[in-house]
C-alpha cells in the first residue's frame, strides 16, 4: 500500500515515467487492433524497429557530418522525433501498399525489413558512442528520463491520434472491412488508407521515442491478443484492449518500482502472463460449454 501511495503522490520523482507508460498502454493497443484486424501484425514488429532506426540516424547525423550541437539535449530530442516520425511514416506507407498489392511473401519481406533496420541501427550508432548508449536504453525499455516537455509532446501527439480515430472510425472500418464496397460508394480509398497508416505510424513513432520499440510493439499487439476472443464488437475490442494496456502499464510500473526491475520488460512479461491466462480462460469456457452440450 505504501508503494501505491508513493507512486500516486504528485511529488513522485518518476511520475512522468508512470504517465508515459500509461499513455502508451492506452494508445498503442488502438494501433494494434487495426493491425490485427487488417492482418498486418508483422508490420507491427517491423515498424517500431524502423522507427528506432530513424532515431539512430537522427541522433548520429551530427557525428557523421561533424556538426556540433550547442544545446545538445533539446536538439537531440527534436532530431529524434523527426527521425522516428519520418522513418515510420515513409515505411508504413510503403510497406502497407506493398501488403495491399502483393499477395505473397509479406512475412519474409517484413522479416527482412526488421533485421536490416536493426543491423543498420547498430552500424550507424557505432559512429557515435553517446547516441549508442541512449539508443540501447531505449531498446531495453528503460523509461526513466522523461521530462515534462517529452510528456506534453507525447500526450498532444496521442491526443490528436485518438480524436482522429473517434471522428473517422466508420470510414476506417469500411475501408478495412470491404475495400471494394468503399470503391463502389465512390470513397477515396487511397486517401483513407494513407490517413489510417499515418495515424498508425504516428502512434508507433511517438511510442518508440517515449518507451522504446519493445514496449511499443508489446503494448500494440498483446492487449488485442488478450481481449480478441472475449468481445463481440470492434468498439469493445478497442476499448477493452486500451483498458488492458492501461492496467498492464500501471501494474507493471508498481512491480518494476517495488522490485527494481527495468519497466519496459516488466510491462511486457506481465501482459504475456495475462495473455496466457486469457487463453486458458477461453479454453476452459469452450470446454465447459462442450460438456453442457453433451449433458443436454
Amino acid at each position: 500500500m505504501s508503494v501505491l501511495n508513493e507512486i500516486l503522490s504528485p511529488d513522485f520523482l518518476l511520475r512522468n515515467s508512470l504517465y508515459i507508460s500509461i499513455l502508451a498502454g492506452l494508445v498503442c493497443p488502438i494501433a494494434g487492433v487495426y493491425l490485427v484486424l487488417r492482418r498486418m501484425v508483422f508490420l507491427g514488429i517491423a515498424l517500431p524497429q524502423i522507427s528506432s532506426l530513424g532515431i539512430a540516424v537522427a541522433l548520429t547525423i551530427h557525428a557523421l557530418y561533424g556538426v556540433h550541437l550547442d544545446t545538445h539535449a533539446a536538439e537531440e530530442k527534436v532530431l529524434a522525433y523527426a527521425g522516428a516520425l519520418g522513418f515510420s511514416l515513409i515505411a508504413i506507407i510503403l510497406l502497407s501498399f506493398a501488403e495491399i498489392r502483393s499477395k505473397s511473401n509479406s512475412e519474409s519481406r517484413l522479416g527482412a525489413v526488421y533485421v536490416i533496420a536493426m543491423a543498420l541501427s547498430i552500424l550507424i550508432l557505432a559512429q557515435c558512442p553517446n547516441a549508442e548508449k541512449g539508443w540501447l536504453n531505449l531498446l531495453k525499455g528503460e523509461i526513466i528520463a522523461i521530462s515534462d516537455t517529452d510528456l506534453i509532446i507525447s500526450a498532444i501527439g496521442f491526443g490528436i491520434v485518438i480524436i482522429c480515430f473517434l471522428l473517422f472510425n466508420r470510414e476506417f472500418t469500411l475501408m478495412s472491412f470491404d475495400r471494394e464496397m468503399a470503391l463502389a460508394l465512390r470513397k477515396n480509398v487511397v486517401f483513407w488508407d494513407v490517413f489510417l497508416f499515418v495515424l498508425l505510424g504516428t502512434i508507433i513513432a511517438v511510442s518508440v521515442i517515449s518507451v522504446g520499440p519493445l514496449v511499443a510493439f508489446g503494448f500494440a499487439i498483446i492487449p488485442p491478443l488478450i481481449v480478441r476472443h472475449h468481445v463481440s464488437s470492434i468498439r469493445a475490442f478497442i476499448v477493452f484492449s486500451s483498458l488492458c494496456g492501461v492496467v498492464g502499464a500501471f501494474c507493471g510500473f508498481i512491480i518494476s518500482y517495488k522490485n527494481d526491475l527495468p519497466l519496459g520488460p516488466t510491462d511486457i512479461v506481465l501482459l504475456g502472463i495475462a495473455a496466457v491466462i486469457s487463453y486458458l480462460c477461453r479454453k476452459t469456457i469452450v470446454f465447459i460449454r462442450k460438456i453442457k452440450t453433451i449433458k443436454k
Binding site: 484486424l37 472500418t173 469500411l174 472491412f177 471494394e180 464496397m181 463502389a184 465512390r186 470513397k187 464488437s233
Partner: protein, 236 residues
C-alpha cells in the same frame, strides 16, 4: 415495367493487365434481370466490378444515366470479406448508408430506420444483431443484399449470390431478388455458375465465351443442343 436505361456499356474491355472480355456493348434498363454465366476465370467478377466502378475499364466506357446518380449496389462474394472484423449484421448493413454520410457527422436516425427497413425487406431483422461471421451462408447473403439496398440503388450487382448455399436457400435468395425487381423496380445483374437457376429466374442470360459476352436466347437454351453447347463452354 419502366424501361428507362440505367447504364450503358460501350465497346467495353475489362481485365487487370490484359483484357479478359472485350467489346462489350450492353444497355441495362430498369427492371432488367440479367444472369451472367461463364467458366472460372472467364471474367464474370471482373465485369461486375468494372460496372460497379471498383475497377477501371481497359477500354470503352460505363456510362450511368445522369438522372440516377449513385445507382449501383454491389454484393460481393461473401467469402471475400475479412472475417477478423467483429461486426454484427446490422453494422454491415449500416455501411450501405456511408456513401450519403457527411464527414464528421454521425449516421442519422432516418438512415438507421432505413437500414431496419432494408433488413425487413430481405427478412433479416431477426438475426441482424448477431455477429456477421457467425451467420449461415444464406443469412450472410441476405445481410449483404440488405447492405446493397441501403445504398438506395437502381441497379444491383451480385457476385455469385447463391454459391455455397443449399438448394432451398438458393431458391429463397432468387425469389427475394425477383421480389426486389418487381416491387422496387431495381435492375439486377447476377453472376452464377448455376445454369438451371439462371434459366428459371433471369430475363436475359449472357455467357462469356472466348473473351466475348454472348447473349443467349432463353427459348434456345431450353433445347438439349444449346444446353450441350453451354456445357461445352464450361467444361471444354
Amino acid at each position: 415495367m419502366n424501361t428507362e436505361w440505367l447504364a450503358r456499356l460501350s465497346n467495353l474491355s475489362v481485365g487487370y493487365e490484359s483484357p479478359v472480355i472485350e467489346e462489350i456493348n450492353l444497355e441495362i434498363r430498369a427492371g432488367d434481370f440479367i444472369g451472367l454465366l461463364g467458366p472460372n476465370g472467364s471474367g464474370k467478377t471482373t465485369l461486375l466490378k468494372t460496372i460497379a466502378g471498383i475497377l477501371k475499364p481497359l477500354a470503352g466506357d460505363v456510362v450511368f444515366n445522369e438522372e440516377y446518380p449513385s445507382t449501383v449496389g454491389y454484393v460481393p462474394q461473401k467469402e471475400s470479406l475479412n472475417p477478423e472484423f467483429l461486426l454484427s449484421g446490422y453494422e454491415v448493413v449500416l455501411m450501405g448508408t456511408y456513401g450519403r454520410k457527411k464527414l464528421f457527422k454521425p449516421v442519422t436516425r432516418e438512415e438507421k430506420d432505413f437500414v431496419v427497413k432494408c433488413l425487413q425487406l430481405v427478412d433479416a431483422e431477426l438475426f441482424a444483431r448477431k455477429p456477421f461471421f457467425e451467420l449461415s451462408g444464406g443469412q450472410r447473403q441476405r445481410i449483404l443484399i440488405a447492405r446493397a439496398l441501403a445504398v438506395k440503388p437502381r441497379l444491383l450487382l451480385l457476385d455469385e449470390p447463391i454459391a455455397g448455399v443449399d438448394l432451398p436457400t438458393a431458391q429463397s435468395i432468387m425469389e427475394l431478388l425477383v421480389k426486389l425487381r418487381t416491387e422496387q423496380g431495381i435492375a439486377i445483374v447476377f453472376v452464377t455458375h448455376d445454369i438451371s437457376m439462371t434459366l428459371r429466374y433471369a430475363n436475359d442470360t449472357f455467357v462469356i465465351h472466348q473473351n466475348r459476352l454472348l447473349k443467349l436466347n432463353k427459348e434456345e437454351l431450353r433445347s438439349a443442343d444449346r444446353i450441350e453447347t453451354l456445357l461445352n463452354v464450361y467444361f471444354g
